[in-house]
Amino acid sequence: MKTTMQNKVIVIPCSGIGKALGSVSREATYEVVESLRKGVTETTCLALITSGDEETLQLVKTNKCITVDGCPLQCAEKNVKLAGGELAASFRVVDTLKENRNLKPKSVTFLDHDGQELASLLAKQVAEKVDELLKK
C-alpha cells in the first residue's frame, strides 16, 4: 500500500458492517477513487487508523482527507481527528438519504438498487469537494 503519496485526497469511509448505510459509504468511496476522481484520490482502511498503523497515520497527516460516514456516530471523522489527520471535509450518508427520501437501501452485504443509487449521488458530492480541495 503506498503511503508516501503527496497531493492526493484520501477518502475514508466508515467501516460500518451492521447496516446498509455503511455499505453505501464504502461504495460511494470506491466510486470516487476508482472512477470519478481516479488518480487524484485514494482510500485506506479505517481500521489501520484505528489500530495506529504508523504508515497510515503518516498518510492521513500529510494529505487532505475526506471522511464518508454511514451513521451519525461518525466513526470515520472521529478516528481521523483522533489520529491527527488533516480532515478537510466530512460527509454523512444519512444527510444524502434525507435529501432523497424515496431511496430506501436495505441490503448490507451486496447493495440493492436504492443503495447503489444513493452511493452514486453521494459520490458526486464527494467528487465535487475533491475538485475544490485540489484547487486550493
Binding site: I12, I17, C45, L46, L48, T50, L73, K78, N79, T109
Partner: protein, 137 residues
C-alpha cells in the same frame, strides 16, 4: 446490532477498504450473520471501539469474540485486544487464501473466485462459533 442479555458470539471484521482481502473478511462475516449462524452471532463496527462505542466495548469485554482480519496487519485483533479483551479466536484471510499482500482488484466487488474464498472463510468462522459456544456452555 448488539444484544447483551443473550449468549452470542461477536464477529469483528477488519474494515479492509484498501484491499480485496478486507472485502472478503467483511463478506464472510456477513454470510455468517445472515445465513450460517444468524441466531448465535452479532457484529461490531471496529472503529466504534475508538470512537467511544461503550456498548461495543462492553460486549467485547464480557462476551466471546472472533476477529476476522484481511491481512497480517491484524487490525481487528489488535484493536479488540487493546480496547476490550483477548478474542476467543482469530482468523486471517491471507492465511486461508495463501495470497499475501493487498491486491486492489476486486475490493469493490468480489469476483467469483474471491466470493468462493469468502464462502470458505464464512464456513471456517461458523465452525469457530460452534467451538466457542460449546466451550462456553
Amino acid at each position: 446490532m448488539v444484544d447483551l442479555p443473550e449468549k452470542k458470539v461477536g464477529i469483528i471484521s477488519c474494515s479492509g477498504e484498501a484491499c480485496v482481502e478486507g472485502t472478503i473478511s467483511r463478506v464472510a462475516t456477513r454470510l455468517v450473520l445472515e445465513k450460517l449462524r444468524p441466531e448465535e452471532t452479532v457484529t461490531i463496527c471496529l472503529p466504534l471501539f475508538l470512537a467511544g462505542g461503550k456498548e461495543e466495548r462492553a460486549f467485547a469485554k464480557y462476551y466471546p469474540t472472533i476477529t476476522v482480519d484481511g491481512c497480517d496487519k491484524l487490525c481487528a485483533k489488535t484493536a479488540t485486544e487493546r480496547y476490550s479483551g483477548k478474542p476467543a479466536s482469530s482468523i486471517v484471510i491471507t492465511d486461508l487464501t495463501r495470497n499475501p499482500g493487498c491486491s486492489r482488484s476486486g475490493r469493490r466487488k468480489l469476483d467469483s473466485g474471491a466470493l468462493g474464498w469468502a464462502e470458505k472463510a464464512a464456513e471456517r468462522i461458523a465452525k469457530e462459533v460452534d467451538g466457542v459456544l460449546d466451550h462456553w456452555r
